[in-house]
Symmetry: C2
Subunit: 351 residues, 2 copies
């Protein structure tokens, strides 16, 4: 059988490490290198760097070009950032080296949402270098877009779509909690929101543009709101304690309009321990159309685990794709890769 698929990981935070560990244990994949932005970690063995008890004999690098040249990967998975601007320099280096890319940067899930010009340039660059690029993740990338789009596939008419993802931030560490304003007073939350310290969820614009393109709707505009979820009872996690009257999380909502009417509404309340005030976590999709569809998952599809899985499961899809920058609606539906990953790759690879 041909050689394993050579995978380079970019980023060794919670997501990057989880992805790298899955690559290590999945037959047919080989972790051939790891890049991290923090220079002080460069040189350490990748095993401990991604939370394994074993050394892997490859070192973490903070020089991406050197890492690519040493590792000679078939594909790289980027888990270093959230925005398109931040993601593009690394992706461009990879593409110029002829390396396919899967990015979990939220804005890469639908690059044209924030920058049609950069999206077009990336597509041309990928074609020029003969590799495929994809943005993937649980949200944006799956629950509030791809799953909705699949459901529209069994509809003849659609009046509007409303989807809500209610999740629990309790497992997350301080950077996520800070970004959601957890523990602030409502006044401090509003100030931090205005000043950019509280950002909430990245991805509504990407999800909405993906849905709209998939069904052929022209969207006139998107209204996005973020409001504090104020605790009425004490909520405690290993990382924070929220007293009554303090902010337990961020209730975020986006409404997209077409012909003056709201047609896509995405709602995403994120907070620590919603259950202490009787709020159940879960995903809910309501397609008002013919037929009408109401779908729920209880609890919500796990965010971190789902993103890790999706990034790795899409490897064969990206290697099978024609050159270019793709979104999840351009490729076949994702599926778990539960056998040797090489058996999922149709075309002959260069090696």
């Amino acid at each position: 059988m041909r050689q394993p698929i050579r995978v380079l990981i970019l980023g060794t935070g919670q997501m990057g490490s989880g992805i790298a560990r899955l690559v290590v244990r999945r037959p047919g994949l080989e972790l051939v290198g790891a890049y991290g932005r923090r220079a002080q970690r460069a040189g350490m063995d990748v095993g401990p760097a991604i939370g394994l008890n074993q050394h892997l004999g490859i070192v973490l690098s903070s020089n991406l070009d050197a890492a690519i040249e040493r590792a000679r990967p078939d594909i790289a998975i980027q888990a270093t950032c959230s925005t398109l601007d931040d993601a593009l320099a690394e992706i461009t280096s990879l593409v110029r080296h002829g390396v396919a890319v899967i990015s979990i940067a939220e804005e890469m899930v639908y690059p044209a949402a924030t920058s049609p010009a950069q999206a077009k340039q990336l597509h041309s660059l990928a074609i020029e270098h003969g590799v495929a690029v994809l943005g993937a993740g649980i949200n944006p990338g799956f629950v509030l877009d791809l799953l909705i789009i699949a459901l529209t596939g069994v509809c003849t008419e659609i009046e509007s779509i409303t989807a809500t993802r209610t999740n629990d931030l309790s497992p997350f560490g301080s950077s996520v909690l800070t970004a959601q304003g957890v523990g602030l007073t409502p006044e401090a939350f509003r100030l931090a929101l205005a000043q950019g310290g509280v950002v909430g969820h990245y991805g509504f614009a990407q999800s909405i543009h993906m849905i709209a393109r998939a069904v052929g709707w022209d969207i006139e505009g998107i209204e996005e709101t973020r409001a504090p979820i104020v605790a009425r009872v004490r909520r405690e996690t290993p990382f924070t304690t929220v007293e009554p009257g303090q902010v337990a999380g961020c209730h975020q909502k986006a409404v997209a309009y077409r012909n003056g009417k709201p047609v896509i509404t995405l709602i995403h309340p994120q907070q620590v321990h919603p259950e202490v005030e009787g709020v159940m976590t879960g995903d809910r999709i309501h397609v008002r159309g013919a037929p009408e569809i109401v779908l729920t998952t209880t609890p919500e599809i796990a965010g971190g685990e789902g993103t890790i899985a999706l990034a790795v499961n899409m490897i064969p899809r990206v290697l099978n794709a024609p050159p270019g920058s793709h979104t999840m609606i351009d490729l076949p539906v994702p599926a778990a890769v539960l056998a040797d990953a090489r058996t999922f790759v149709a075309k002959a690879r260069a090696d």
Copy 2:
């Protein structure tokens, strides 16, 4: 703008008529012909034949080759039958004329499930004639396979999958009710099952093979059971009355094994008026794995309407696909076609 996509419909029963009516009203599509197997209906105007109040100026034909030559369709939708053997003669004629095909025959959703040799031949023939062929439908084709597969895409490991589709047969006419054994005594049901008069649901083998191929599982065997659902109270529809002690429907189940363990279990109880005995209709998918996923729709995704929508919504996907015989997992995820259908077709067509 280029000419509308020319669509030929095969079959003017409940499904074929619904598909044809949707083609008539969808911008960018043109119904250019209709074929029906019943010679006594040949020559009538297609409008009344598909339940419209208007004449369409095209006649229903019972000669497929003549219908193809007169209509010169880009694509045909087949809604004449359920089995592969029954479907293949018509599909072969279409492909030899260079016409792309979407079939809602249940066994066409995954032709290799019942006949790998015929599936391979069809694939070669489609390539030879430069057209794409697809089997599609709500079940098999979506609820108990594609939707499950999409969910596995966010899993790193899967132990087993169980999915249940509980629906209501009350809207259906006598041919469906007879096939499910509705109104029989339990003894007559078992006899009709043995003699082939009661067949239940076609499609478990197709769904299981599609799931197994998508995730890379080798299935050792499938056990399928069909049992009568016996009414305890009177159930009445416009087409039948079921007395207590008579059969209200068919409870069908398939279990697929891998390494001696059940890994895929599909359950499909179909009956008239389940609600009178407290049974709620709905679809439920349970993926036991990492992460665990429990998804439900309430009620079930509408079968007839969903199949009609999916058949028409897949037209651009099939016209965009490379030549060959495809399944739903080979093509991009379905989406509602809510704008001019021509805008969804990427490649230049021959016209």
